[in-house]
Amino acid sequence: MSEHRDVWVFSENYDLMLELLTAGNPLAADRSSKLVAVLIGSEIEEKAHELLKYGADKVLVADYPKLKDFQIEKYLGILTSLTKKNKPEILLIGSTKNGKELASRLATRLETGCTPDCSTITIDERGQLLTKRIVYSGNAVVTATYLKKPQIATIPHRAFEKLEPREREGEITKVEVTVEEPQVELVGTNRMEVANVRIEDARIVVCGGRGIEKKEDFKPLQELAQLLGGQTSNTRPLAEDRKWFTGWVGLSGKKIKPTVYIGCGISGMIQHIAGMRDSQVVVAVNKDPEAAIFEVADYIIVGNLYEIVPAIVEALKKALKN
């Protein structure tokens, strides 16, 4: 057991990797070990130096032209050989969908456990990793620990904030790798509608639900979002059943934690709440005084969204002018 040491982080998403460094920092300090970032790609030397500034003690760099684009099996093969050789004690992986597949497969190869989508990670009194995450469609928080090593956890975007970069000493090591031939071939990609891209980054999210009857009626919500410098999103039925949008907020969609969340015509089913529970301030507009979303709201407005939302837009224009 004791042969395992150091805290490693990896994500194919560079921004998320910076956040993982923030997550890994206190763990490495607690374990008196190094924080190691694994950087895979092509022509990435500059990034390697940057990772030191964001908190890495050491960066392992696999820099090859054929690693330019992320491909699960190629990256998985590299991570497998690096982790088998160096035996990290803790491994944090970014919780993108691809990251979660990669983490599950790596954990299987290393015959260990993996906790997905952790919102909190700490070290317990026995020196073991302790994780918290939401389960049962947002109805419960499960605390778990590990029985095997390495201890693998995936961390969602925005669970941690990247540090302020500063000049730090650190080590950059180029690694030699053999690249596995992928079993799955990429034939093509299609971008999704821009409105739902990076909703996790929006400071303010105006979210619409089935209370909105037509796609055009989303306009006032968009206007409100624009005024606030935020973005709009929606519940799953508006994407899945009505096909107005491609993404949604919730358990099976995006997890957001904006400064302000404004939910309009949303009932507040647990699956949706699971995606917005961590918002700082929650405003809910619903015509049904019994709507479940009011249970998780700071500001409750019982009323018709078709009247309330345009009124908020006007009130805001007035207030912002003064």
């Binding site: 497969r105 049962y136 093509g188 999704m192 007035k318």
Partner: protein
């Protein structure tokens, strides 16, 4: 003609969960169980492939408790035969241990073209079992598929990622995990429910699969759960009232500005 294995989990119906108000602990006894939502989509997709190409659908379920009502429902939806691996030793198994059991069961069921799973289970939502089985069986995996096309020994699928769709292809046999978008699972007719009662459910134990007990339960697992509590949310729950929408809106805007989250 394709032979398709569908992995079905019997999960608790999360919408029926309640917490003990005093301790915050979830009350887990007598929560109703059902086929995990996305697994039903996986089964539906298998039934649709069978309607097109013929072949055979076999379900595999690993469970501490008896899950035969769920398997019966799967048979009524169109599966041909159900395999149920039930063993008390499976208690406290995590995804590492469960995937080993499922993979061994799949091997014993025999040659197949596709293994379909849900993208994740509705209770734990870890999305690990499909990818883990792929490693154990050493076959390709495609996760988060919202469309599947089968052509001889090639499968083409459309994956749903955060900001894009990907079209990918691989050779069979392969594992595919499906999203809820892929289809609308059918509700079995009375006729098919009756017919299903004649279909076979095969029971296996760990011994039947030659799995040593130290590969499952706490010994075989990488993760140990310490507690499961209802999440705490403390919200202000301030009801904003007024004579008119304008008045209500102005009060809200004022409150948000006072909180310092809006304006300037």
């Amino acid at each position: 003609m394709p032979r398709i294995i569908v992995c079905l989990k019997q999960a608790i119906d999360v919408s029926q969960l309640k917490a003990d108000p005093a301790t915050g602990k979830l009350i887990m006894t007598s929560v109703p169980q059902k086929i995990s939502d996305f697994d039903k989509n996986a089964l539906e997709e298998a039934v649709r492939l069978k309607e097109k190409f013929g072949g055979e659908i076999l379900t595999v379920t690993v469970s501490v408790e008896d899950a035969k009502t769920s398997v019966r429902e799967a048979l009524a939806m169109g599966a041909d035969r159900g395999y149920l691996i039930t063993d008390k030793a499976l208690e406290f198994s995590d995804t590492l241990a469960t995937s080993i059991v499922l993979a061994e069961a799949v091997k014993k069921v025999g040659q197949c073209d596709l293994i379909l799973c849900g993208e994740a289970s509705i209770d734990g939502f870890s999305a690990q079992v499909g990818p883990r089985m792929a490693e154990l069986l050493n076959i390709p995996v495609i996760t988060y598929a919202r469309k599947i096309t089968l052509e001889n020994n090639t499968v083409i699928a459309e994956r749903v990622l955060e900001d894009r769709y990907e079209t990918v292809k691989t050779k069979t046999p392969a594992i595919i995990t499906v999203t809820k978008e892929i289809n609308e699972p059918r509700i079995p007719s009375l006729m098919s429910i009756m017919k299903a009662s004649k279909k076979e459910i095969i029971y296996w134990t760990l011994e039947d699969l030659d799995i040593p007990v130290n590969k499952v339960g706490e010994l075989g697992s990488g993760i140990k759960i310490i507690d499961i509590l209802a999440p705490k949310t403390e919200r202000k729950k301030i009801v904003i009232e007024g004579e008119s929408p304008v008045e209500v809106a102005e009060k809200l805007v004022k409150a948000l500005i006072q909180e310092g989250v809006v304006g300037r």
